[in-house]
Symmetry: C2
Subunit: 205 residues, 2 copies
């Protein structure tokens, strides 16, 4: 069973490789692959070993081939349809974030429960009433949901998503959610990034 | 040297402990402490061992005392002043996110370079011109900066921040930044969360 920390590093390697390929580089060592993110070459090799035999001893990895294979492993060699619930400030920022579609994640539907927002359009995408979630998830083959509503509404939105057939929920609301079996969840809490800083900064004092 | 992954887990334990304390619970086992985030008790004990002797064999940890000590280690037993640059959608969502101030991180200044935004106010905080960054960082004793501008402006903003005396930069722009020694940086890329999902979802097919 591959640890989640290894899968996250695979995403970092895949981005690195995409950049190298764009620069026309053909070969890369395990040390260079981990360099930008300060990941030791031993860790890089250990992570790749979970998934097979890559590269040749002494000559490193083929940038093109390794990138291709990692994208396949990560499932980013294809597109995924995503539903966003919560058309507020965070929702708007996520909707326009080019980083998602760059990796194949297309926000194909946006939902809200405020009459002031339903039926408005963001770059051609009509904001729909949350009542239309179920129907739209089926019609648009949506497998991933993003929860960008206040804490008070987050659990109900996650329940609706999983019931509608969404398989994975990314939650931004400051609330622990419970999801049924068959539905994955991940929580984002950006304060943790700042706590990493305060850990180091308070040691400097 | 404590690995960053261990420090992130410390943040998770600290949140868990704050919740338990609010519920009036007095003792907690290493297993319960790691439970919600699926962290094995062996990992919990290993993480805590970096920082000292906590708890008693057989009776677990004191919720109050361990919470107090972890907050001290993480530096969240005090407040930190934060500058936000980029008063757009993401900036607005970060500014109003209660999760930051809850952990002691106060966004005390917001900057932008668009005349349409400078001098507008967000809940009593006047959006200032980026030209005032240096002066404000000194006046308001700001040690952390958040970069929420488009990729094209991110490096310049990070340079300004470090030059002004900010010690740690949290970057949301999709661009690798270079910061001088004495300035820390971390990058947030929410697409990585979705790639974790697509890794598991594509295995299900
Ligand atoms: N995880 C983080 O680090 C982080 C950072 C910023 C914001 N947040 C969180 O993200 C959430 C959104 O923040 P924001 O600043 O965009 O808030 P916002 O108030 O601007 O937007 C919330 C939107 O959700 C809609 N909504 C509320 N309940 C709903 C429901 N039950 N169904 C459908 N739509 C509903 C509202 O009408 C509104 O449009 C909040 O929970 C906030 O705490 C988290
Ligand atoms: N990391 C992630 O997962 C993630 C998610 C969403 C958005 N983003 C990124 O966050 C950034 C902001 O996104 P947004 O949707 O809020 O964009 P936005 O266009 O709504 O806001 C950007 C703001 O920055 C200001 N600005 C631009 N250049 C500046 C400069 N040099 N100095 C000061 N201010 C400047 C603009 O005037 C504007 O107000 C973008 O880089 C976007 O790609 C990242």
């Amino acid at each position: 069973k591959v640890p989640l920390t290894a899968i996250r590093r695979l995403s970092i390697y895949a981005r690195m490789l995409a950049g190298l390929e764009a620069d026309g580089k053909q070969q890369v060592s395990s040390r260079d692959l981990g360099e930008t993110a300060s990941i030791p070459s031993t860790q890089v090799r250990k992570d790749l070993a979970y998934f097979g035999q890559f590269g040749k001893r002494g000559s490193g990895y083929s940038v093109k081939e390794l990138g291709f294979r990692l994208r396949k492993i990560l499932g980013i060699d294809r597109a995924w349809n995503v539903a966003l619930v919560g058309a507020g400030n965070l929702g708007r920022a996520l909707f326009s974030y080019p980083g998602f579609s760059k990796q194949g994640f297309r926000i194909v539907a946006v939902f809200d429960n405020s009459p002031g927002k339903v039926n408005k359009s963001w770059k051609g995408t009509r904001i729909q009433s949350i009542k239309e979630l179920s129907k739209t998830v089926r019609e648009k083959n949506i497998s991933i949901g993003i929860v960008a509503v206040p804490a008070s509404g987050a659990q109900e939105v996650a329940d609706e998503m999983c019931k509608a057939g969404i398989k994975a929920v990314l939650n931004f609301a400051p609330k622990r959610l419970k999801v049924p079996t068959g539905c994955m969840q991940a929580n984002v809490d950006l304060a943790i990034e700042l706590e990493n800083f305060s850990y180091y900064l308070s040691k400097l004092r």
